[in-house]
């Protein structure tokens, strides 16, 4: 269920713009933040708020990298695999993460804490290899720094 407060906030935001559709990504992001991912329920609610059909929303939601239509972990780790990060060894980071978290690329840990996904160049080539965790960038990363980062994220939840 969408909290009344969030719903009324979004309704007010939509009312302020000339065309509700232009708010589509913002509304999707807000509901995704609330539900953890852009669920079918969120899709229906977003469609309702924006006066769009669920399909029209899905046409957008399935296009973008940072909209998750399937459940993801509490922390989504996006490892940049474009040219510079690749040159600087992103494959080692991925191998280490898979090993450490016990999942494959695209998987989510059993405790629901982490999801591992690739991402195209995130614009931090001067800090390669870089990753995004919950839209925050970390880089340049060594295996040690990556371990410390995972430890910190885990500790925050225990």
């Amino acid at each position: 269920m969408l909290p009344e407060k969030l719903k009324s906030e979004l309704t007010a935001q939509i009312a302020r713009v000339d065309h509700p559709r232009e708010m589509a990504i913002d509304v999707i992001n807000a509901l995704q933040d609330h539900y953890g991912y852009f669920s079918d329920e969120a899709l229906a609610q977003a469609a309702d708020l924006l006066g769009m059909s669920p399909l029209e929303l899905d046409e957008l939601a399935t296009f973008y990298t940072f909209i998750y239509r399937e459940p993801v972990g509490k922390h989504v780790i996006h490892v940049c695999d474009s040219l510079i990060c690749w040159m600087e060894g992103d494959e080692n980071l991925v191998a280490h993460l898979c090993d450490r978290l016990g999942i494959q690329m695209g998987g989510t840990t059993a405790d629901g804490l982490f999801t591992l996904l690739p991402v195209c160049c995130i614009g931090y080539c001067d800090r390669a290899p870089a990753i995004l965790v919950d839209r925050q960038v970390h880089g340049p990363l060594t295996i040690d720094a990556l371990d410390r980062l995972i430890d910190t994220l885990r500790e925050n939840h225990s």
Binding site: H19, T65, R135, Q136
Partner: protein, 425 residues
């Protein structure tokens, strides 16, 4: 290291924070806007932009002065100004550095550009990875509004202009202006071939001017200091202004540097970036992001400006210099780039949507010992055909592949004949 060259956009860059509004104003910021609103007319702004030969800094290098003047005088209202802060070109991070340094320079540049076409709505389209910049912009826009520099009756004039920040859902194609306009309207961000042109019928069918962050940031300086001053900033006679170069890869000091257009590639690498990492040898670089071709050691001293690169059958692109040393496998690098384009193709037209996965498959086979000599003509033909795609995405995407075959065919053949990558032990 760069002290020898005049700094314009990054002059007041702080190591870890933005230039505040008061600092920006102390350094002469918003002076151009004040002068324009009180002393100059619209046409003057347009004239200066045209005279300054400011070329778009987002990658295509289209003359900004011409673009501004294509918004017809009698076009309908409201009119829109879109700032493209969707810096998605691999290797490019100049806008990120700039936005974390000088948000007000962009705001002022947007206000000036908007004023010149009488736009009332400004939108900054920003990639989700730059959330920190989006937050800075929203905060500083609020501050500017509080100071009467945005909003209604700017600086006491009769000019109203608002800016909002629009966060993208994150896709490379959103950097393409027509795709971006679709995205802004809550539609799938497929490109749309003109006509109509955005300056005629853009957002919601209304005139829309779209420019890159860096392009807009140049405007206050051009307005304030004049076209000639701007032209004189460049080292080569045809070029004008400085450029934010972002250098990455196998150099000692990767980063974003403001340098005059026309500076030699060798100077960027050696002087600014402290030379090649670990004393390795320069093998090649991409001069302007993933959509440009490889420049080899033959062009090590090339003058980095739009014209010189065009003459070398390449492009300045976004000025993102990605440097490879002699340990790098160019097939593997090209495979990586092709993977990027295969993943980011919007799926609208056939050659791009299907061609990149096909090319990726062929390159993967070459890199992994399954290559055949017959692949090379296949790849060449396919690349030629990908130029006939719907938008500029695919021609950009095949630039690296075409230049791989042009400059490194021996290396490709070594993969095929040796049944594997010679760079892997």
């Amino acid at each position: 290291m760069t002290a020898t060259y005049p700094q314009v956009l990054l002059k007041n860059r702080k190591p870890d924070r933005i230039t505040t509004l008061s600092e920006y104003r102390e350094a002469g910021g918003y002076e151009a806007l004040r002068r324009v609103l009180t002393e100059m007319d619209r046409q003057e702004v347009k004239t200066r932009l045209a005279d300054a030969l400011l070329l778009g800094r987002g990658g295509a290098g289209f003359p900004a002065g011409i673009k501004v003047s294509t918004v017809a005088e009698d076009a309908p209202f409201p009119r829109y100004l879109v700032c493209n802060a969707d810096e998605m070109e691999p290797g490019t991070f100049k806008d990120r550095v700039f936005l974390h340094a000088e948000p007000h320079m962009l705001i002022e540049g947007m206000a000036l550009a908007a004023y010149s076409i009488r736009a009332s709505h400004g939108i900054i389209f920003i990639r989700p990875e730059y959330e920190s910049a989006a937050k800075i912009l929203e905060r500083e826009i609020g501050i500017a509004r509080g100071e009467g520099l945005l909003g209604e009756r700017i600086l006491g004039s009769d000019y109203d202009f608002e800016i909002v920040v629009h966060r993208s859902g994150g896709r490379y194609i959103c950097g393409e202006v027509t795709a971006q306009l679709n995205a802004l309207q809550g539609r799938r961000p497929n490109p749309k071939q003109p006509p109509p042109y955005a300056t005629d019928k853009g957002l919601w069918g209304l005139p829309t001017l779209a420019n890159n962050v860096e392009t807009l940031a140049c405007i206050p300086h051009i307005v304030k200091n004049g076209a000639q001053w701007f032209k004189d900033l460049a080292l080569t006679p045809e070029a004008a202004g400085t450029k934010l170069f972002c250098v990455s890869g196998k150099v000692n000091r990767p980063g974003c540097y403001e340098l005059p257009l026309g500076i030699k590639l060798s100077e960027i690498i050696e002087t600014c970036c402290g030379g090649m990492k670990d004393g390795a040898t320069f093998k090649a670089c991409l001069p302007g992001g993933a959509s440009t071709g490889y420049l080899t050691a033959d062009h090590y001293h090339i003058e980095m400006d739009f014209d010189s690169l065009k003459k070398a059958r390449n492009r300045l692109g976004t000025g993102a210099v990605m440097v490879f040393d002699h340990h790098c496998c160019m097939v593997a690098a090209t495979l990586n780039l092709t993977e990027f384009f295969a993943r980011e193709s919007c799926g609208w037209c056939t050659p791009c949507r299907e061609g990149f996965p096909y090319l990726r498959d062929l390159l993967w086979r070459i890199e992994n010992g399954q290559g055949e000599a017959g692949f090379i003509p296949m790849i060449k033909t396919m690349c030629r055909h990908l130029w006939k795609s719907y938008c500029a995405f695919a021609p950009g995407g095949v630039a690296s592949i075409e230049s791989l075959l042009m400059n490194f065919e021996d290396e490709v053949m070594a993969h095929i004949e040796g049944k594997g990558c010679p760079f892997k032990k």
